[in-house]
Each structure stands twice: as C-alpha cells, then as structure tokens.
C-alpha cells in the first residue's frame, strides 16, 4: 500500500485552486468598482450634497430631491409588491393544487424574472399610464391626473419587476417550515388559515425578509423602467402632499407627482448635462450614495432578520 499522491488528488487540488483564483478575480473586480466609486465620489459628499438640490444647470449643488424620490418610489414599490407577492406565494405554496393552470402561473412568475427591465418600462407606460391611468381619469373626470407618467405608475411597474423575487423567496421560506409544526397545529384543532397565520407565516418571517432585501436591492437601482414613468430631469419641489387633520399637517409622499431618482440623475449627469466632464465628481458621488442606500437597507434588513432568527431558534 502506498500513500503517495495519485493523479486524482492532483486534479482535485488543481480544481480547488482554480476555483480560488476565480473567486479572487470576482472579488477583485467588485472591489475595483466599489473603491473607484468610493475614491472618486467621497470628495463631493457632504451635508449640502445630500440635502441640497442641483444648481447651476446640474453642475453643482446636491442630490437631495433625487435621494428623496428614490426612497419614496422604493417604499411605494414595497407597499405594492410585498402584500401581493406574499399572498401569491401563500396561495401557490399552501392552497394551489398541482393543476395545469397553477403550473402555468408558477412558470410565468419564474419567467417574469428574466424579462429585460426596459420591457417593464414600456409595459408600465402602455398598461398603467395609457390604459389604467387614462381610464381612471375618464371615469373620475379628473382631467390629466392619473393618465400621465407619475410616481404611482413607476412604483407599480417596479413592484411587478421585483414580484418574482418576493414570490420565489417567500415560497422557499414557506416550504422550509417543518411539516411537524403544521401537524402540531392541525392536531390542536387549527383551521388551515390559523395554521398559516399563527405557525407558518411567523416562522417564514426571516425568509420573507431576505426576499424583501433582494427586492429592494434590485428595485432601488433600476433605471430603465422609470425612464418613461415619471422620473424627472429636474423638479423645483419635492413630490410631497400635506395631509391635514385640522391644524395638524402630515407630509406624505405624493404618488401623483413626478419625481427625481438617483439612478436616472446619474444618467442625466452623464449624458444630458451641458458639461459631462464637470459633473463627473457629482456622478461618482451620486453612485456612491446609491450604493450606500442599498447597503443601508440591507443592513437594516439583516439586523431584523438576525433578531427574528434569534427568537426562532434560541439555544
């Protein structure tokens, strides 16, 4: 018997090292992009940049309205896509029988994830703005209010764009709840809905949150779908409406307004401004803010997921 290395061992060693090299290449590219943006962008970031509006034909000033618009449209997107996505996943995982129709629904959802985002934009323009919006206007006789590209339709379109992400990850989370826990609840005389509400959904919470993180990360940076749907070059006022209860007024996002958006703003600075070279630092700064926002939303979600997990399986 010999203990010398065989051909097979050397092959596996080679493979492991190949994987290792590829990993570092990937990591390197990522670091390169982020550090380039960071180094070029960090210089312009200060309080004014984050809160001021663009000035002097976009060549100076800040991106405050764009940050606001990005957050507003992303929040609205979640407001639409989370309930719809979670309900869809609950239906598909818990209620739907394995019929042809349900298979078609499942396949469609998976395929939605592969549709190019510009197609979503055109769809949003055609379906939401020109069909739904126009019809709402003609029914409500509201003139031209809904039948134009506004934040509401941008958020709706982004919601459809991230829907498959939410549905698929929620389904995975639901399926990972042990059957024994369902049995326990059924054994205690729970109805199907009670089992879902008191056992399955609470246990799937952290998985659903993971899907939400992915959805936000995807939706926050999308540019193509919002191009035709209310992303504005420059707006003097924030898309805000005041809801007043007597003397007490609450500022709310106004979904019937156009909005500025960081990703679109970068696109404008790079292609539409009077002097793209002058605005270069601003572009990097905006890109850095966008990455920062994504990271920030991820950190918040990871914190909550950690908290949920801790209560789920302590010990």
């Amino acid at each position: 018997m010999t203990f010398s290395k065989t051909n097979k061992d050397i092959k596996s060693l080679l493979f492991v090292n190949l994987v290792r090299v590829l990993f570092f290449i990937l990591l390197g590219v990522l670091m390169l992009i982020i550090s380039k943006i960071f180094i070029e962008g960090i210089g312009v970031i200060n309080f004014q940049f984050l809160f001021d509006e663009p000035k002097n034909n976009m060549t100076s000033g800040g991106i405050g309205p764009a940050i606001f618009g990005t957050l507003a449209v992303t929040i609205l997107m979640l407001l639409f896509s989370l309930p719809l996505g979670i309900c869809t996943a609950v239906y598909l995982s818990e209620y739907a029988k394995d019929t042809l129709l349900n298979r078609i629904i499942r396949a469609s959802i998976n395929n939605l994830a592969g549709v190019p985002s510009i197609v979503y934009g055109l769809f949003g323009l055609g379906f939401f703005v020109l069909f739904i919006g126009k019809n709402i206007d003609s029914v409500l006789k509201s003139g031209l209010l809904f039948g134009q590209p506004v934040m509401l339709w941008a958020a709706s379109t982004l919601a459809i764009l991230v829907l498959p992400i939410i549905v698929v990850s929620t389904q995975e989370a639901l399926n990972s709840v042990p059957k024994s826990h369902r049995d326990a609840a059924y054994g205690l005389g729970a109805t199907k809905w009670q089992v879902i509400k008191s056992v399955v959904l609470p246990e799937a919470k952290s998985g659903i949150l993971t899907g939400t993180i992915l959805a936000v990360s995807r939706g926050i940076g999308e540019t193509a779908p919002i191009l035709f749907l209310g992303a504005a070059f420059y707006l003097p006022n924030l898309p805000i409406v005041y809801l007043c209860f007597g003397d007490f007024c609450l500022p709310m996002i106004n979904p019937a307004e156009q909005f500025m958006h960081i990703s679109y703003h970068i696109f404008i600075l790079a292609t539409q401004s009077s002097n793209p070279t002058v605005t270069l630092p601003l572009q990097y700064g905006s890109a850095l803010v966008l990455i920062g926002l994504t990271l920030f939303s991820n950190i918040i979600a990871i914190y909550f997921r950690y908290k949920f997990r801790k209560t789920e399986r302590k010990g």
């Binding site: 326990a184 609840a185 054994g187 205690l188 609470p202 789920e312 302590k314």
Partner: protein, 252 residues
C-alpha cells in the same frame, strides 16, 4: 370491558391505491391506556391518525368503515374536522413545539378557541402544565423560548399543550422514542396519571413500554389487526402465533 369510548368497525385505509389498513375492528375502552404495537410500517401510526382524521391532510388517502367516538361517526359528512381534533389531543414522535415561548406554546390551542384574556390563559397554562407534571420545571421559564427546554421537557410540554384544548382522548405516536430512559420514565408515569381522566392510545415499538403502561394491547401486522386483548394476556398468553413470535423478538 367497561364503557367503550371508540368503536371501530371494518376500518380500511388505502394510500394511493395501496391498502395500509385492512378491515380493522376493535373497541377501545374509556379512561384506559390502549397500546398499539407492531413492526415498522405495519400501519400503527396511520391507524392513530385515522382517529383524528389527520390523514385527511394527505392527498390520495381513502378511508372506509366506521369509527364511532361516543357513538358518533367521525367520518360522517356533517362532522367538522376542526372540532373533532379539538376533542382529541395528539402527541407526536418528536417534540414539535413551535419556536415560540413556553407560554405561547401552552396556550396555543386556547388561543385558537378565541380565549384572549391574559388571566384566563395563565390559568390554562398553569392547570395543563400541572396535569402534565411539568409546572415546577417551567413556571419560571414561561417567557423563554420553548426550544431551550430539554428534549424530555419539550415532549411533556407537548403533552401539556395537547391537554389545553381539553380533549377527552389523547393519541400518542411513539412519544418516548427519541428520549433517554429517565425522560421516558417520566412520560410513562405521566401516562399512568393521565389515564384517570383521559382515554389514551399509544403507539410504540417498545414492547416493554406497552407492557408497562397499557391496559389493553393491539398487535398490528401488515395493516391487519392480528390480536387485541388485555395487555396482561397478550404478553403472557397470546392466542396468535404471530403475536407470540413478535413479542418474544423472533421478528420485527
């Protein structure tokens, strides 16, 4: 045999076309422990699950025959399965506590019944965990995650949880198979206590356990009821050759 709690006649169950239970008939006495023994795959657990209709949750199951509980046919069209399961507690092979607090687990069934008042829930939690002889161990840990308890404690908490819906029948599917001897002993003591108030059916592959805890024993083999008698008789003087072979360890 005294008062009959469950009367089963010609019960058969097919799972995706294959027979899993064949023509089983037996009467189960009230406030006694009835054990079901037999080799793996003989249909013990399936049988137990026909009694609270947990098999309904599986696709491809068809049941024929009659199961009468207190004279009522539980497979009748007018039976509300949810209400049926509230009258029948079930304890599973492995603890399946929810990843919630000890208290939330104990009162899960009570909350399903719409009880919301904190004092009332507390009272239920205390009563049932005293019944399940676990109150002293958990009374200071009610807010802790139930999965922090030891395996034996978890299983007794499962029993307490099942008691909280105030059943009169308790089904136990190998409740001690995942436990160490000391925890198993505690579960068996508990079963002995509980039979004063509840009709208990226990599935076990441990014949000594069946001999220790039960008043009646049924031996199932390949989906058929081979023999059903007083435990003392089954283990000393079984009438069937198969039963004798099984309990003496010649197969199974």
């Amino acid at each position: 045999m005294k008062e009959i709690k469950i009367s089963i006649s010609n019960l058969s169950l097919n799972y995706t076309g294959k027979p899993a239970l064949k023509n089983i008939s037996l009467n189960i006495p009230a406030k006694r422990v009835t054990a079901f023994i037999g080799p793996s795959g003989c249909g013990k657990s399936t049988f137990l699950r026909t009694l609270n209709r947990m098999n309904d949750l599986l696709d491809g199951v068809s049941v024929s025959g009659k199961v009468l509980i207190d004279g009522i046919d539980i497979y009748d069209k007018n039976i509300d399965v949810v209400n049926l399961r509230k009258r029948i507690g079930m304890v599973f092979q492995k603890s399946n506590l929810f990843p919630k607090s000890v208290f939330d687990n104990l009162v899960f069934g009570a909350r399903l019944n719409g009880i919301k008042k904190e004092e009332e829930l507390m009272e239920i939690a205390e009563r049932t965990s005293k019944q399940a002889a676990i109150w002293d161990e958990i009374k200071d840990r009610l807010d802790e995650n139930a999965l922090n308890l030891s395996m034996g404690q978890q299983q007794r908490l499962c029993i307490a949880r099942a008691l909280a819906v105030e059943p009169d029948i308790i089904l136990m599917d190998e409740p001690a198979s995942a436990l160490d001897p000391i925890s198993t002993g505690k579960i068996e003591d508990l079963i002995y206590e509980l039979k004063n108030e509840f009709t208990i059916l226990i599935v076990t592959h441990n014949m000594q356990q069946a001999a220790r805890v039960s008043d009646f024993t049924a031996f199932l083999y390949m989906g058929e009821l081979v023999e059903y008698d007083r435990t003392s008789r089954i283990f000393t003087n079984p009438s069937s050759r198969q039963t004798e072979d099984y309990i003496t360890g010649r197969f199974g």
